[in-house]
Amino acid sequence: MTMDLDKSTRKPFVRPVEASWWTKKGFYLAYMLREGTCLLVLAFVLEMLGLYIMTALHITDIQHMNQAGLESLQSYIKFLGHPVMIAFNVLVLIAVLYHAFTWFPLMPKATRVIIKDRKSGLYKLLEGKYLVALLVLAFVATTAAGIIFFYYPQLIAKLLTPLGLFEDALKGLFGSKGLPF
C-alpha cells in the first residue's frame, strides 16, 4: 500500500473534518457527484453480470440452448424491460455521461505523451484539445452504434451471420433454416 520510508514516531495531528463538507459548496458537490457516478457503474456491472450468468449457465453447448434456459434468460430480459429497470438504466446513463464529460477534459492534464520529436504531428494530436476531440469522436461513434442497436437489435446478428460465426448456432436453434428473416 503506502510507502512508509520516513515514518514519524510522533502522533500526527488530524484536523477534524465533517463528513458532510462536500454539501456546503456547489463546486464540492459537483466533485462528489462525479465520484458518485462509480456507484451506478458498479450497479450496472452487477446487472450485466446477472445477464451474463443467466446466458452462460443455461447453455448445454453452443448449438443448443434448452427450452428452460431460453425461458429463464427471457424472464431476465423481461425484468430488464420493467419500467423501474428502464428508469434505473436511464439514471446510469446520465451518470456515465456526466463521468464522460468530466473525464475527457481531464485527459490532457493526466496523460504524458512520450515522443522524442515534440513538433511531430502525432505528438500534437495526442495532446491538449486535439486529444479531447479524438476522445469525443470515439465516444460519438460508439454511442451512435449503441443507438442503432437500440432501434434495430437484430442488426448485430445480421452483420455477424455472414462471417459464419453463428451459422451453426442459429441452425441449432431454428433448425436447418437458420435465421427466420
Binding site: F44, A56, I77, A110, T143, Q154, A169, F174, L179
Partner: protein, 118 residues
C-alpha cells in the same frame, strides 16, 4: 519476492485509468443497447447467440472487468473524502470484491469457451 520499497498502487491506478476510458467511451452504447433488448423468443435467442460468441464474449468481459476495477478504485479513494481512513481491511474488502466480480465474469467466460470446444 515482494519488495517493500515498491508500491502496488500503479496497478490499481492503471486499471482505474483504463476503466475510466471504457466507462466514458463504450459503456453509454452498452446501456442504450441494453434498454433496446426485447424478450421475444427470437430476440432472446439472437442475443444469446451474439453473447455466446467467444470473441464477443471476451470483449464483453474485458469491458465489464475494467468497469468494475474503475468503480471500486474510485470508491476506495472516495472513502477518504467521506472521512473514513482506509486501512488494510478496506483495501482487502474493496479490491477483493473487484477480484470476485472479475472472477465471476471469467468463470462464465470459461464455461462458454469450454462448451464451444466440447
Amino acid at each position: 519476492m515482494f519488495r517493500k520499497d515498491r508500491s502496488d498502487e500503479p496497478i490499481y491506478w492503471g486499471l482505474f485509468g483504463a476503466g475510466g476510458m471504457v466507462v466514458a467511451i463504450v459503456l453509454p452504447a452498452i446501456i442504450i443497447a441494453t434498454m433496446g433488448l426485447n424478450h421475444s423468443v427470437l430476440d432472446t435467442a439472437m442475443f444469446a447467440n451474439v453473447i455466446l460468441s467467444p470473441v464477443f464474449s471476451l470483449a464483453f468481459i474485458g469491458i465489464m472487468i475494467l468497469c468494475t476495477w474503475h468503480a471500486l478504485h474510485r470508491i476506495y479513494h472516495t472513502l477518504h473524502d467521506l472521512t473514513i481512513h482506509v486501512g488494510t481491511l478496506h483495501h482487502l474488502l474493496i479490491y477483493g470484491l473487484a477480484l470476485l466480480i472479475s472472477l465471476a465474469f471469467i468463470g462464465c467466460y470459461l464455461i462458454i469457451l469450454f462448451k464451444n470446444l466440447f
